[in-house]
């Protein structure tokens, strides 16, 4: 017997295929354009169509010159971050139907140099990420000791695993109000990664990292506006990580 729910879903999909939306896309090539131009495209969509699907549809059928970066299409690689209807989001993780709008405006993320159209340069974010020494720091290593590996309890893992979920998409840095004006600020991505290692009981590099972030454009320029956490597509909650990290600097946490 056919499952009635499946039948219903199939029929609703067929009836929704005629829906169209205006995709308002930012076009800008820094090499020869003086400013961003917006071009409108009419695209049809289904309930499950993502913004990335729509952009790729435009690229395939309407304008081959559209520059967009993507890879996994499942919110794992962090490549397709962009500003969708004024908010930084992953294009592959945002369905057109959930935006409840007839016009979908896609722009490159703020606070990063534009490479072309929707593609931004994430180099500075990777640099600040590296500045945080994103690796376990300790004198001994699991290879040289008899224990072979550093065992952790589930509770110890839970202290940092949330922050290890970061896919470096850069949405948090784009939403941050400090980053909107401060080019030297380390940013929520890097600061959260610093906490990811500080909270890891295998790591012994806490003081080293606290020294790096205790700068005039370091952790103190975070004012807990929380926008980073609101846009994070992986539930990393950078705002929490940063406040926990600051707790160490203020002596609230050991």
């Amino acid at each position: 017997m056919t499952d009635p729910q499946i039948v219903e879903e199939q029929s609703s999909a067929e009836s929704s295929s005629s829906k169209t939306v205006t995709l308002r896309m930012a076009k800008f090539n820094p090499e020869h354009d003086s400013g961003t131009q917006f071009v409108n495209f009419q695209v049809s969509y289904e309930r499950w169509t993502t913004v990335l699907d729509a952009i790729l549809d435009v690229k395939k059928h309407l304008d081959h010159s559209v520059a967009v970066r993507y890879s996994c299409r499942q919110a794992s690689c962090g490549s397709c971050g962009m500003k969708i209807n004024g908010r930084p989001r992953l294009a592959c993780f945002t369905k057109i139907s959930e935006l409840n709008s007839d016009v979908i405006t896609v722009e490159p993320m703020n606070n990063y140099p534009i490479v072309r159209d929707l593609v931004v340069d994430l180099e500075r974010m990777f640099d600040t990420h590296k500045e945080m020494k994103p690796f376990i720091i300790r004198e001994d290593s699991e290879i040289t000791t008899n224990t072979k590996e550093f065992l952790q309890t589930p509770e110890q893992v839970e202290e940092y695993i949330q922050f290890a979920n970061c896919i470096k998409c850069g949405l948090c840095n784009s939403a941050c109000p400090t980053m909107a004006t401060d080019s030297s600020f380390l940013g929520p991505q890097a600061l959260t990664q610093a906490y990811r290692y500080v909270a890891d009981n295998r790591d012994k590099g806490k003081n080293e990292r606290l020294k790096i972030i205790d700068d005039s454009h370091g952790i103190w320029r975070c004012h807990f506006a929380g926008s980073c956490s609101q846009v994070c597509p992986k539930g990393v909650d950078p705002a929490m990580g940063i406040q926990m990290l600051r707790g160490h600097l203020l002596g609230f946490k050991k």
């Binding site: 839970e158 080019s183 926008s227 705002a239 600051r246």
Partner: protein, 143 residues
């Protein structure tokens, strides 16, 4: 050549609508802080008139004893109360207190740090500021 960083700028920083009450509170904290500093400088200047004798003090006082003066002072009361109450919340939060506990994130990934406690504290700060302003109005205009 320095590349255009496509910064959102003050306009982006000042647009609190997209990110909820926490971003509004961030913006209010800034505005009230700047407003209070301006008032503080003015207050120091205003009170220095006492060195020039009773006449100078009274004429300076007269400037503040107008309807506009009272409304301005009421605004200062509101700014002061909000900045204090929200500042207390932020001081705890900056120490990692009241921002939730790390967990394994689960879809739809609601951030623990943006919890109800924090939101309620922000609304309470705004509410207390409003009440203080009403009390201020009653004291200033009730004479």
């Amino acid at each position: 050549m320095k590349r255009n960083e496509n910064k959102e700028g003050i306009k982006g920083m000042a647009n609190p609508g997209r990110y909820g009450i926490e971003r509004v509170s961030y913006w209010l904290m800034r505005i009230t802080g700047l407003g209070l500093l301006a008032y503080f400088i003015g207050h120091i200047y205003e009170t220095s008139s006492i060195l020039s004798g009773k006449a100078a003090w009274d004429s300076m006082l007269e400037l503040t004893q107008t309807t506009q003066g009272h409304v301005f002072l009421t605004l200062v009361i509101g700014m002061c109360v909000f900045h204090t109450a929200n500042g207390m919340r932020l001081m705890f939060a900056h120490g990692g207190i009241g921002v939730g506990k790390p967990t394994r994130p689960d879809y739809p990934y609601l951030p623990n740090s943006q919890n109800m406690k924090n939101k309620l504290c922000i609304y309470a700060s705004i509410g207390i500021a409003a009440l203080a302003m009403m009390y201020g109005l009653s004291v200033l205009f009730g004479e």
